[in-house]
Structure formats: structure tokens, C-alpha cells
């Protein structure tokens, strides 16, 4: 009988990925709801201090694998080690945060158990004996309630679904060092790097004016630049605009770009795919302009204009100029 909740702690060379604490929060909550113990596991090499830090959280057990073959992340070694741990513990749930690393190996891990991952969930609800997981589909346009069929259920939660600062501390977890089997490792990693020092640091901007697919062509960006100047704000963009080369990549907001929380964020022609929202949802005031009233961006917007940005932007720039002229 599968029992308990297993949670994965991610790090880079011993530096904790703080979103792993969100997975601890999720596991602690689910554990309390279901009367299940929480066990966490860490894979790596020379990461004693991280293991010590994680053992201070309110979890029953910490499984710590210290192995040179796990020093750098590879999907082969991580999947092998995680498979050993899941087999030994036989948990009811394996809870992880939906990071790029987890996306790389979690499906491979689940496949070893003949199933897949209930991934990128935003919340869960208890319905009798069932746990119902909710996730976004169609790039955030709809939500889906999902039910898993067999233990262990592999589940990932979207970053931000639970709060890292709500992970509860405890009196010190029992640390165990399980023996894991690691087979052939086919991939050789080179050191991680940052492309170039980011020329523009959007995290310091007070006002950001961001454009998306709705801008239609590179020539139209000039119009938005004028608005940004009028407001004294920085220009930014969603991924497709940077992919097309219409704005440099250091102006990209979202999971693969910068994460910002300005005083005012104006989203022009951005539908609001999850990957974009995670980069800007904590902005104080969000203003969205989109011709599609159903666009997910309106779910998090404080102010919205349902309309054509090609009409709104010039009119807004003019109106701002008039107000400024009047107030000087």
C-alpha cells in the first residue's frame, strides 16, 4: 500500500532553488489534509550544508544521496536515482515544482512507473477520497480538473501556486542516506552560463509598457515607444516578439526572461500565456489592452480596455500629453 508524500529539492551546486520550498509547502498542506507523512529527497555531491538546511523543515524524513555522478544535473543519473528512491519509499504522491529541470526528468521518471505527470498544477481540492488537481490548458484560456489513477501520483505545481515562506520549520528531520542505483549516464554537461550581461535591468523599472503578438509587425513598435516615452516607462515584450527579433531578448518578460513587479505594467496585445504571467503577475497595477475580451490577461488585470491597440495607443499617448501640458 503506497503511503506518504515524497518531495524533490532542486539546487545548483548546493544553492537551493527557492521554488523547492513551495513544493514543501504543498506537500505539508496535502499531508495535513490526507494524514500522510512528508519525506523530502536531495540528489547531489558535496551538499551537506543544503541537506542540513532542508532538515530544519517540518518533514518526517530527509533522504540524502551524495554521489559524484549527481554533482551536475543529467536526466539519466537523476532519473535513475529518483527511481530507486520512489521504489524504496513507495509513496502515494510525488510532489515537485514545475521547474525547467523537473520538466526535463519528471516525465522520464513517471514513465518508469508506466504513467505520466499531472503537471503544472495551480491548486488542488479534496473531494471525498479523491484529490482533484487543477491545471491551465489552452495557454491559460481554460482550467481543467484532473484526477490521477494510480499511486504513486506524480504531480508538479506551477511556481507561485504555493508560497515558499509558508513552508513550516520543524524540530529536525531524520536524515537517511539511501543506496541508489545509477546506470549509464549518456549526457555530458558543460558549465551553465548567462548569455550576456543583461543590458536592460527591467526589474528596477517603475513603469513597464509591454507588447505582444497583437502588435503585428516590427514597424508598429515605434508607436508603443512613443507611449513609453510619454509615461517615462521601459519598453518590454512577450516571448514571440523577441523570438521574431523585433525587440532584443533582454526586454523579454516571463519564465525564460525577466521577472518584474513594477508599480504599473501595461500589457498591449498580450493574451497572457502562463509563461508570460509568471514574469509580471506581482506588478502593483496591471493594465491590459486586448481585442479579445476572453484573453487570460484580463484575469489578472486591474484595468482593461477591450479594443484595438492601434486605436488605443495613439489616443492614450495624446491624452497623456494633454494632461501633462495642463498640469505644467
Amino acid at each position: 500500500m503506497s503511503k506518504g508524500i515524497l518531495t524533490f529539492i532542486e539546487h545548483r551546486a548546493g544553492a537551493l532553488n527557492r521554488t523547492s520550498l513551495e513544493a514543501i509547502t504543498a506537500a505539508q498542506k496535502l499531508g495535513a489534509d490526507r494524514g500522510e507523512e512528508v519525506t523530502v529527497f536531495i540528489l547531489g555531491s558535496n551538499i551537506e550544508s543544503l541537506a542540513h538546511e532542508i532538515a530544519s523543515y517540518a518533514v518526517a524524513k530527509l533522504l540524502f544521496v551524495d554521489d559524484a555522478r549527481l554533482a551536475d544535473y543529467t536526466p539519466d543519473a537523476y532519473t535513475d536515482a529518483a527511481t530507486s528512491i520512489v521504489r524504496q519509499l513507495d509513496p502515494a504522491f510525488v510532489i515537485m515544482t514545475h521547474t525547467y529541470q523537473v520538466r526535463d526528468f519528471a516525465p522520464k521518471l513517471a514513465a518508469r512507473f508506466g504513467r505520466d505527470v499531472i503537471c503544472d498544477c495551480i491548486r488542488y481540492n479534496i473531494n471525498g477520497s479523491q484529490v482533484v488537481f487543477s491545471r491551465r490548458v489552452f495557454l491559460g484560456k481554460l482550467d481543467a480538473d484532473v484526477i490521477g489513477s494510480a499511486s504513486p501520483l506524480f504531480v508538479t505545481f506551477q511556481s507561485g501556486a504555493f508560497r515558499a515562506d509558508q513552508a513550516q520549520k520543524g524540530s529536525g528531520a531524520n536524515v537517511e542516506r539511501p543506496v541508489v542505483e545509477i546506470g549509464a549516464v549518456r549526457m555530458t554537461p558543460e558549465p551553465p552560463f548567462q548569455e550576456t550581461k543583461q543590458a536592460v535591468d527591467l526589474t528596477k523599472a517603475n513603469i513597464i509598457i509591454a507588447v505582444g503578438r497583437g502588435i503585428k509587425s516590427q514597424e508598429n513598435i515605434g508607436m508603443v515607444e512613443k507611449l513609453a516615452q510619454a509615461l517615462g516607462g521601459e519598453l518590454a515584450a512577450s516571448r514571440p516578439i523577441c523570438d521574431a527579433g523585433w525587440l532584443p531578448i533582454d526586454r523579454q518578460i516571463g519564465s525564460s526572461g525577466q521577472t518584474v513587479a513594477p508599480k504599473v505594467y501595461i500589457a498591449l496585445g498580450i493574451s497572457g500565456a502562463i509563461q508570460h504571467l509568471v514574469g509580471m503577475k506581482n506588478s502593483s497595477v496591471i493594465i491590459a489592452v486586448n481585442k479579445d475580451a476572453e484573453a487570460p490577461i484580463f484575469d489578472i488585470a486591474d484595468y482593461g480596455i477591450v479594443g484595438d491597440l492601434f486605436e488605443v495607443v495613439p489616443a492614450l499617448t495624446d491624452a497623456i500629453a494633454k494632461i501633462k501640458a495642463g498640469s505644467l
Binding site: 503537471c119 480538473d145 509615461l231 516571448r239 526572461g257 482593461g304 497623456i320 498640469s327
Partner: protein, 266 residues
């Protein structure tokens, strides 16, 4: 090098989605479809690798008859041939709802259809724009014994006994990995500029082979790890003040006033 590209047909990005009466999925009959965005980039990357290393590019898609338009587009852009895996149960009528699979079920069917192809490389987009699982490729690699790398933003095909791939990490970090073949990569959107189909390509595509496979993998025999119980419109986390009542210019004037008197940035 023999490269297979997994391509999925998904609802058009601008499509207005309506939920079916059972609240289990969208109404699929009244929307337009397109090639999943990152899958289009996967095909482009495959064509570029073929230009450097030679070989063959085969596109593979699974789904009801409507997915033929995605195959035609891929062939017109330069793929050499195509495999279409039909997902309809034998004897099902054309109007019957297509079957829905969890990623493990999809990957199982793909593995069965592709095993005899003996591909060196399989490419897919990093996730579909409908279900958004981002798992089918990785699970397929595991089932076929291929090495895999996800969210790949550059491929260095000059390494003769394998590949060097650049993976995107979070917050502007990247990492190169060397890997042997056979391998499966999931490709990030924006890896390169996608070529358009030429008239010559469209004409040539008509002569290219489309292999039809009716999958015999028994869905009932492969348990689904997960089932969608219900789909619905997301609960709004904020109450949005809508400005202009549908009039864009009036909305702009109201917004300027809000920026001045309430938000106080002008």
C-alpha cells in the same frame, strides 16, 4: 541522419473556445486549427540539420483526418515524407469525437509506430498549446531508449558522433550538453526563423508519401495516468475595471485620467 519530427495540430491561437455540453473538453467542430507553434520550430531545426548532415526528414502526426493539413504544410516546407497515425477507433464515424490520450498513452502509440523507422534523431516542440503537458517527447524517448534533452534553443550538429545541444534554464541561464545518438530533443520556440513554403515546395509535396497507420496499441491496455474530469473558464483572481465600454478611444481617455488621478504616474 534520419530525423523524425513530431507535429501536433492544435486550436488556432485566436480561436474562440467553447466548452462542450459534457464540460469535458472544447467543442472541436467549430474552430480553426494550426500547427503547434514550437513543433513548427522543431521542423525548421530538422531541415537545417539535414542541410548540414544529409539524410531524411520524416514528419509524424497523430489525430483525426483534419490533421492532414498540418502534414501538407510540413511537406511543402521541405519534409521528405510523412506518417499519419489515425486515432479513431475502427468503425467510428467521421463525426465522432476524437479520442483523448494522456501523454503516456500518446507516447506508447508513437513508440509502436516509430520503432521500425530506426531514427537517429526525434524532434518535437517543447509542449503543445492545447493540453500543455510537455511530456510526450520525453516519455517517448524513455520508451525507445533514446537520450533526451528538453527546452533546446540551439543545436550544434557539427559533432560527428552525436550532438551538442544548448538547453534553456530559467532566468536567462543556459547550458550545453553533449549527447550521443539516437536522441530526442524538445525544441523551444524561437530557435531560428521558420521558412515559408515555396510554390515549388507546395507542388513537390503532392508527390510525397504519406504513410497511414491505424494504431493497434490497445488504449484500454495502457492505463492513463490522468483523466480530465472537467474543463471550465478560469476563476478570475481580480475584478477588472473595464474602461471605454468597447469604444477604444473612450477607453484610452478614461485610462489617461486613471493614470493621472488614481494611479498618479502622470
Amino acid at each position: 541522419m534520419k530525423i523524425i519530427v513530431l507535429i501536433k495540430q492544435v486550436a488556432n491561437k485566436d480561436a474562440i473556445l467553447r466548452i462542450n455540453p459534457q464540460e469535458t473538453w472544447i467543442k472541436e467542430d467549430d474552430i480553426s486549427y494550426e500547427t503547434n507553434e514550437s513543433d513548427g520550430y522543431a521542423l525548421e531545426e530538422a531541415l537545417r540539420i539535414k542541410e548540414k548532415r544529409g539524410g531524411e526528414v520524416v514528419i509524424c502526426t497523430m489525430g483525426p483526418p483534419r490533421v492532414k493539413s498540418v502534414i501538407k504544410d510540413g511537406l511543402a516546407r521541405g519534409a521528405d515524407r510523412a506518417i499519419h497515425i489515425s486515432t479513431r477507433a475502427t468503425g467510428a464515424s467521421a463525426t465522432e469525437e476524437p479520442l483523448h490520450f494522456s501523454p503516456f498513452q500518446t507516447a506508447t502509440r508513437l513508440a509502436e509506430a516509430l520503432r521500425d523507422e530506426n531514427a537517429d534523431l526525434i524532434l518535437s516542440g517543447l509542449q503543445s498549446d492545447d493540453y500543455g503537458y510537455g511530456q510526450t517527447g520525453v516519455i517517448l524517448a524513455e520508451l525507445m531508449g533514446f537520450a533526451s534533452a528538453t527546452i533546446v534553443i540551439e543545436v550544434d550538429a557539427s559533432v560527428m558522433d552525436g550532438l551538442r545541444v544548448k538547453r534553456e534554464l530559467e532566468s536567462g541561464w543556459y547550458q550545453w550538453y553533449q549527447m550521443p545518438l539516437p536522441a530526442l530533443l524538445t525544441i523551444q520556440s524561437g530557435i531560428s526563423q521558420i521558412r515559408y513554403a515555396t510554390l515549388k515546395g507546395i507542388m513537390a509535396a503532392k508527390k510525397r508519401e504519406i504513410k497511414e497507420i491505424i494504431s493497434t496499441a490497445d488504449t484500454a491496455g495502457v492505463t492513463s495516468g490522468q483523466t480530465i474530469a472537467r474543463v471550465y473558464l478560469p476563476h478570475k483572481s481580480k475584478e477588472t475595471k473595464l474602461l471605454g465600454r468597447g469604444d477604444a478611444k473612450a477607453g484610452a481617455a478614461e485610462l489617461a485620467e486613471k493614470l493621472h488621478s488614481d494611479i498618479r504616474i502622470i
